[in-house]
């Protein structure tokens, strides 16, 4: 470990792609250990960040340098953290790919899924085969020459990290090298980093949990009480684990930081975008109204569609996710939907382990 620390030269900066709230928070965390290049696509935005030293409501660390060039990032850094919304991830990777080499390490922090073909209209009955759905690490592997890929998921509300509050995360990667490199770059006395070899498990747990954050926001918005919220979260998690199992994901991934850990954080916090979507829906706003007024993407909205379509293709029943789908996309009244939670005839508590 000591020798690893030494070989990590102080000169090589680390890159973050995407200056959203989480990207900015990660850049600031990294800046406590090394020089950071923070990429933002639009030149005006880059200029604005440079002059104001403010990004997504956070003050940029002195060691964070703003750049608008992906080539500069790929040339200067071997460790890159892509943290952009899943809907623009494919385009970003396409732009970055020509500059990448096999010695690059990519650790993404995007909690969304890519669907093939993209921009499909997914209905309650849509079906998606597993091959049509790619996690971000799968997308990176398919589109680039990079093999040393990882993901960064966990209960990491950007606003709390920005305040300097303590937190932990998990890096999922098949490679020790990636996990160690990520740890060395991110770890500080307020940020703890765990590792897991189960990349897909970590990714899916991190992605799917957003569904529950939306549901949890709804329960709060309707003031149904903490018992009902716990019911939704627990039974919802059970559905997600069953979906994971049909996709050959080890249930344990859902029980770690990226699963339960993140569920506890985002299902309770008004700082979570997905929670906010659910909360405001319950308060009577429509989905389009809500999405129009949000600065950043609530990944969970799309994930509800993808998860349901995956389950449909596998012949798996997901009552809670289906219910959320009806509320989000078919204007089903929130209260009616949640009322149905009480009418399910489920006879076993824990049946996924």
């Amino acid at each position: 470990m000591v020798s690893d620390l030494n070989t990590m030269s102080e000169q090589a900066p680390v890159a973050v792609i995407g200056a959203g709230s989480f990207g900015t928070a990660v850049a600031n965390l990294l800046a406590e250990n090394k020089r950071v290049l923070l990429y933002t696509r639009l030149p005006e935005r880059a200029e604005q960040l440079r002059t104001s030293r403010q990004s997504a409501g956070q003050t940029l660390h002195d060691l964070v340098e703003i750049t608008g060039s992906l080539q500069q990032i790929a040339d200067a850094c071997y460790l890159i953290f892509p943290i952009v919304p899943s809907e623009s991830f494919a385009a970003m990777i396409g732009d970055l790919a020509p500059f990448l080499r096999p010695d690059h390490i990519l650790i993404h922090g995007t909690k969304g899924l890519h669907v093939e073909p993209p921009d499909q209209n997914l209905s309650l009955e849509s079906k998606l085969k597993r091959q049509q759905v790619l996690t971000m690490s799968e997308l990176i592997l398919r589109e680039t020459v990079v093999l040393r890929v990882g993901c960064l998921h966990g209960p990491n509300l950007a606003s709390e990290i920005a305040q300097g509050l303590p937190a932990a995360t998990v890096i999922g990667s098949r490679f020790d090298e990636v996990i160690n490199e990520g740890k060395l770059a991110l770890r500080s006395n307020r940020f703890q980093v765990y590792g897991s070899y189960d990349v897909l498990g970590i990714e899916l747990a991190g992605v799917l949990k957003n569904i529950l954050a939306i549901g949890s926001g709804m329960v709060r918005g309707l003031a149904l009480g903490e018992n009902a919220r716990a019911l939704l979260m627990t039974r919802g998690l059970s559905e997600l684990i069953h979906l994971g199992k049909t996709l050959n994901i080890d249930p344990r991934a859902f029980l770690g930081l990226a699963g339960i850990g993140d569920i506890i954080a985002t299902c309770s916090s008004p700082h979570s975008r997905n929670y906010t979507v659910g909360f405001r829906l319950a308060q009577g706003e429509t989905l389009s109204q809500i999405l129009e007024t949000m600065d950043e993407v609530a990944e969970g909205v799309h994930t509800v569609q993808v998860a349901l379509a995956l389950a449909n293709a596998e012949g798996l029943s997901m009552p809670i996710v289906g219910m959320l789908h009806r509320i989000l996309f078919e204007n089903a009244p929130v209260a009616d939907g949640l009322q149905r939670l009480m009418s399910y005839r489920i006879n076993r508590d824990v049946d996924f382990i």
Binding site: P102, D103, L147, R148, E177
Partner: protein, 556 residues
């Protein structure tokens, strides 16, 4: 293309395998040193080394009592008794590290010699006499007919065995000095002979091949084994020292540019399906060898290793009855009634070979496009290409922060990536044959007819339930063939030309060729009723499985 093709490297003395055979002592020494180095890295203290030695002794003692073979050298017991007494003595004397190392060296030397070949073994001697003759034959194109000489030209192996794929790419790679690792699917003990023939026919130099020790006991196989440049693999020996010696043998040979042949599936496919996963042990030597070659000269040119997948397609697998029996036992344990295995004797194999070449049912061998050790495609000049068509600097896979670094865990993951790419290629370069389509359709129809029966009940259906209407089978085959064609158009599969004929011809051809020499027929046409029936549903299952893993079940 007219086979056999002209030899790519006409001068035998330039063949890497030839150089190796001329230089046996030095190579053996290198292998032993290499294996010792690796083992000592993992067992630094004498206590740990002692545990390693004791563990290997323990495994060998069990093997000696439980699984003795007639090919085992007579002094085996004596040798391991010596190891046992040495272990006791060294422990009592609290011997220094060097003494433990010496004992390890002794064992490695024995294993190394055994892997390389035992000269006292008469079978091996017989085969070895053939080696120079075989080499000489290959020197001139007109004499490049070893196989024809044995079986006679009239038997026409070149007509029976179809060689497909971008053979010229492979030849160019060898011509340019690249090292090729050929990785075929594995269905039959004949595979190694066939691949040996194919390598010969496309004009490549001999390949190094780790053959199971049991194959050396049949003379007819031993000839081909050695033509392939076989070294010996004893699957009974699973102790760490032996496995390390095997790996060192393969790694060192690859490092010296020796073209090698691995069956990555490890053993023959029991179910009859294409390998869905492959073994990592030998594959890891490919990654290891390439990494070393890169580290030797970090900035300059390096010896490059290419992986060439090969898919062998049979209408008939000699051992099918025994293989499917094993498979059913594996998945169902005791529930399945088993018959005696009568299919693996040397005489049977010889008879089969004669039958095959006289009456003949086609075999298709397809060479997939060669790739680099991480599964990247390569261009005509042998450069690795990334998904965007850009040249990949191979060394960068082993770099960390600009430095070439060894990392065992990374290499292990790279091996798994290579394994996945090979499995993918096995499916991608598969050639669908009429007999496979017919078997698949027939078995699926029977499954659908009895949705409430499990596999074992299905296999015990009485004779009257084991028949199909010609029309019903035709409908299913038509649908399957349509899907196969679609996938061929999308470059996901290949098909036998007969699949372009009308359904009736496909059925005729498929049924006639399916498992043609088995005592019981997987499918046959009843002349009077015009119905199709099966003597043996297990065999039908075996050939049906060949199309398993492609999602074809949705089409019947």
């Amino acid at each position: 293309m007219q086979f056999p093709l002209k030899q790519v490297v006409p001068n035998l003395e330039e063949w890497p395998l030839y150089r190796l055979s001329k230089d046996r002592e030095r190579f053996l020494h290198k292998v032993i040193e290499e294996a010792k180095r690796e083992l000592l890295l993992d067992h630094r203290s004498s206590a740990s080394l002692q545990a390693l030695l004791a563990n290997s002794l323990y495994h060998e003692k069990i093997r000696l009592t439980r699984k003795p073979w007639s090919v085992d050298p007579p002094d085996e017991k004596k040798f391991w008794a010596f190891v046992a007494s040495e272990l006791t003595r060294l422990e009592q004397e609290s011997a220094p590290q060097a003494a433990w190392n010496a004992l390890l060296q002794t064992i490695l030397e024995r294993y190394g010699k055994e892997i390389q070949g035992n000269f006292n073994n008469p079978t091996y001697q017989f085969a070895r006499q053939f080696l120079p003759i075989a080499f000489n034959r290959l020197l001139n194109a007109s004499g490049n007919r070893n196989f024809s000489r044995i079986f006679g030209n009239r038997l026409g192996i070149h007509d029976r065995v179809h060689l497909d794929g971008d053979v010229e790419r492979l030849r160019q790679i060898v011509r340019d000095g690249g090292t090729v690792v050929m990785v075929p699917t594995h269905f039959s003990n004949l595979d190694s002979i066939l691949v040996g023939y194919a390598i010969d026919a496309i004009g490549l130099p001999a390949f190094l091949y780790g053959a199971g020790l049991n194959l050396f006991s049949a003379r007819i196989l031993a000839y081909f084994m050695n033509r392939l440049g076989a070294y010996k693999v004893d699957r009974r020996k699973k102790n760490k020292i032996y496995l390390q010696a095997l790996k060192a043998y393969s790694t060192s040979a690859l490092e010296e540019g020796c073209h090698s042949l691995f069956f990555p599936g490890g053993t023959r496919s029991r179910s009859g399906a294409i390998e869905k996963q492959v073994k990592l042990g030998l594959l890891s030597t490919v990654i290891e060898a390439q990494r070393r070659l890169l580290l030797e000269n970090p900035n300059g040119p390096f010896q490059k290793i290419y992986v060439a997948p090969v898919v062998i397609n049979y209408n008939f697998v000699l051992e099918a009855p025994a293989l499917i029996k094993d498979h059913l036992q594996e998945i169902g344990r005791e529930r399945f009634f088993v018959e005696q295995d009568r299919y693996s004797s040397s005489g049977r194999i010889a008879r089969f070979i004669l039958r095959f070449f006289t009456a003949g049912s086609d075999i298709r061998i397809r060479f997939g496009d060669p790739m680099d050790i991480l599964g990247n495609p390569v261009d005509a000049a042998g450069n690795s290409l990334d998904p965007n068509g850009k040249t990949v600097p191979l060394a960068a896979y082993f770099q960390h922060n600009g430095e070439l670094k060894e990392d065992a865990q990374r290499d292990f993951e790279y091996t798994k990536i290579l394994a996945d790419k090979i499995v993918h290629a096995f499916h991608r370069y598969n050639t669908v044959m009429a007999s496979h389509v017919v078997a698949f359709a027939a078995f699926r129809l029977i499954q659908k007819r009895h949705p409430d029966l499990d596999l074992y009940q299905l296999l015990r259906l009485p004779e009257e339930d084991r028949s199909w209407d010609w029309e019903a089978l035709g409908v299913a085959v038509t649908r399957l063939v349509a899907e196969v064609k679609l996938r061929c158009d999308r470059a996901e599969l290949y098909r036998e030309p007969v699949l372009d004929q009308p359904t009736a011809s496909i059925l005729q051809h498929g049924i006639r060729n399916l498992g043609i020499y088995h005592d019981k027929r997987a499918l046959k046409i009843d002349k009077r009723s015009g119905k199709v029936s099966s003597d043996d549903l297990r065999l039908l299952l075996f050939y049906h499985n060949r199309m398993d893993g492609f999602g074809f079940e949705h089409y019947v």
